[in-house]
């Protein structure tokens, strides 16, 4: 077979969204690759310039359908940085519980998609089943199942519902039991290891230079987690470890996310135990002063960042969103070349694509 370009996308089971990966294959071996994004561009940055500050929270939710809580939290954090608003401590703890639950839910969704990509059907359904536990918790906490619209500028929308503590601890217990099951289903499976070990090597230097962040960066051996190294919210008071792995391959990326789920369970336990009493929301000013605000969080997919410019009115002058996957996907050619066509799904699946935030 001569070399040919194969379009994987925009409508393709591998893509998990709308994007196009053009790969040039020689037989089954990839010799070149080129990602194309932009099919889902909704102009969110422009939309935000015409919305008042509270109205943007639901839009920030829709940046990423997999982890909407993180993005609305990031937006609220950024605006709080701009206005200099102090958030009550209870609100920070509620936010941390919500974000870590979101991290588990997002990683479970990633694992489901990853397992589905590799053809492991039980992996898909079991992880989605267990994600449902957390989605139900979110439903009780926020009222939504996918886009929560829960954080507010100056706190969170509601207090914890009754019995939430008990349910959250139960969910975490259940999750820890399930994580052991996943270890059996994935790590102990010879075929899963065959598909993952040594595939998609992304060296430490390349990962740093290409701007890869999040679990993919930590899987390349760089121990950098914004929760730990540039802490925000009440993360400095939490006791957790940064998951890293030295292997730089797909298995390392898988493992880092699994360890992160364990650590998230730990953080949820601590935050629930140390939850202070008090107010969960303060009145936010309607207008923001002139100046800039910067928010930086550890999204489940990498480094999420927002830069907001205020001009004294009740609408932001400019809101810039840094999407982790938008930068990571440009590293795709570096990772893909030299592997087989079937490895594309393992490698791109391992990067945890989310097109909502990529195209904005």
């Amino acid at each position: 077979m001569a070399e040919m370009w194969v379009n994987m996308g925009p409508q393709h089971p591998m893509t998990h969204g709308l994007w196009n990966l053009r790969v040039k294959v020689d037989g089954e071996t990839i010799v070149d690759a080129e990602p194309e994004v932009g099919y889902l561009h909704r102009g969110i940055e422009k939309l935000c310039e015409n919305r008042t500050y509270p109205q943007i929270i639901p839009i920030a939710d829709r940046l990423c359908y997999g982890s909407s809580m993180t993005w609305s939290h990031l937006y609220c954090m950024t605006v709080e940085d701009l206005t200099g608003l102090e958030v009550p401590e209870r609100a920070e703890y509620i936010r941390v519980v919500a974000i870590e639950m979101q991290r588990i839910a997002s990683h479970l969704m990633w694992l489901a998609a990853y397992a589905g990509d590799l053809g492991l059907s039980v992996g898909f359904t079991y992880t989605m089943r267990d994600r449902e536990v957390f989605v139900d918790l979110f439903q009780a906490l926020t009222g939504g199942r996918l886009t929560y619209n829960f954080p507010r500028i100056g706190g969170v929308a509601h207090d914890l519902p009754p019995d939430f503590d008990r349910d959250a601890i139960r969910a975490v217990d259940y999750m820890e039991k399930r994580l052991r099951e996943y270890e059996d289903l994935f790590d102990r499976s010879k075929i899963f290891m065959m598909r993952n070990e040594g595939i998609g090597i992304l060296r430490k230097e390349d990962a740093m230079n290409l701007g890869v962040t999040g679990p993919s960066l930590r899987a390349s051996g760089v121990s950098y987690d914004i929760r730990k190294d540039a802490p925000y919210s009440v993360y400095p008071e939490m006791d957790f470890e940064v998951a890293t792995h030295k292997d730089c391959d797909c298995y390392a990326r898988y493992k880092v996310r699994m360890v992160e789920m364990w650590q998230s369970c730990r953080i949820i336990r601590q935050a629930i135990a140390e939850m202070p009493k008090g107010k969960w929301r303060v009145v936010a000013p309607r207008t923001a002063p002139e100046g800039t605000g910067l928010g930086r969080v550890e999204d489940p997919r990498g480094e999420g960042m927002m830069y907001v410019v205020g001009d004294g009115t009740d609408r932001p002058y400019r809101l810039k969103v840094r999407s982790p996957i938008f930068v990571t996907v440009s590293a795709a050619p570096k990772i893909l070349v030299g592997y087989k066509l079937a490895d594309v799904v393992a490698i791109m699946g391992g990067l945890d694509m989310c097109i909502g935030e990529t195209d904005r």
Partner: protein, 301 residues
């Protein structure tokens, strides 16, 4: 934290063991995890954000929900009610609603709620537009536990107030201050609501029943406040008629009476006076004023 590699000495025995347990569990011992949807339904928590209901008795028709809606899917509709008279109540286009719940949060009287009803699909787009009549449910808000924090606060009826300063003297927290009204030659009590402890002494002290204790819901939104440009005000009273919260009173300004032809004095000119504690920040006075006498930063006409 370098983790040990997966031990795959048993080839595929462990995953098979796990799924085997699952087969036994679902096939013999129990039922699968999913729900047979139209036959069985999930229990939704009370905080679920579904279809809205509007309590017509609580709603004052201020339109804050319409203003904050990010998708512009709400509108105010004028209607005639046998009980409530001529009113304006919101309607929602569920084809565009994103169920963010901001309208519920911003409502100053907690009149709009989101229920657990989520089956809203229809064959026609037009049927997704629910007018106020379809949304009306005057009993829902009393059935569910109150979620919004509320306080009992003294509310001023300026038309009864004589400016006697008894309330200000009685207040133990010194949160009532008598502020003179420009050009009216009397003062009105201004209550700093943040300091108020709901003791009710001011209400007891008022001999004219101008102050009453009322339940007021806390708002987390910083709403814009109207400012009067006195020079422009003609005293037409359009703002007082438009105000849904009855926070604007038209007071006569003594000394501005026109001298009529027969030498008698006519009626004095009026001006609008805002009782800002009652203001919900909807901006309707700003929109109603044709003489640009009201200034409200951040509100669009």
């Amino acid at each position: 934290m370098a983790e040990a590699k997966g031990r795959t000495t048993g080839l595929v025995a462990r995953p098979l063991w796990r799924t085997g347990k699952q087969i036994v569990r679902t096939l013999i011992l129990g039922r699968p995890n999913t729900v047979l949807y139209p036959h069985h339904k999930l229990d939704l928590p009370l905080g679920y954000r579904g279809k809205h209901v509007v309590d017509f008795k609580r709603c004052i028709g201020c339109g804050n929900c319409v203003t904050i809606c990010p998708n512009d899917c709400m509108w105010l509709e004028k209607l005639e009610d046998p009980e409530l008279g001529k009113i304006e109540r919101p309607g929602i286009d569920f084809g565009r609603c994103l169920f963010c719940g901001l309208c519920v949060e911003v409502c100053p009287t907690a009149a709009i709620h989101e229920t657990v009803e989520f089956e809203l699909a229809d064959h026609e787009r037009q049927k997704l537009r629910s007018g106020p009549k379809e949304l009306r449910d005057d009993t829902y808000a009393d059935k569910i536990p109150e979620e919004r924090p509320k306080r009992s606060l003294p509310v001023l009826d300026l038309s009864k107030c004589t400016g006697c300063e008894k309330c200000a003297e009685e207040c133990p927290e010194i949160c009532i201050a008598m502020m003179p009204i420009e050009k009216v030659e009397r003062s009105k009590p201004e209550i700093t609501l943040a300091k108020c402890t709901s003791c009710g002494k001011c209400v007891a002290a008022c001999s004219e029943q101008a102050l009453t204790m009322m339940d007021v819901y806390d708002s987390y939104f910083d709403m814009p406040e109207p400012k009067l440009k006195l020079a422009e005000c003609t005293g037409c009273g359009a703002c007082a008629r438009a105000c849904p919260a009855d926070a604007i009173y038209m007071l006569e300004m003594p000394g501005t009476e026109k001298v009529l032809k027969d030498g008698k004095k006519g009626k004095p000119k009026k001006r609008a006076v805002f009782v800002l504690e009652k203001c919900v920040g909807c901006g309707r006075c700003f929109r109603a004023c044709r003489f640009h006498a009201i200034d409200m930063p951040g509100v669009r006409k």
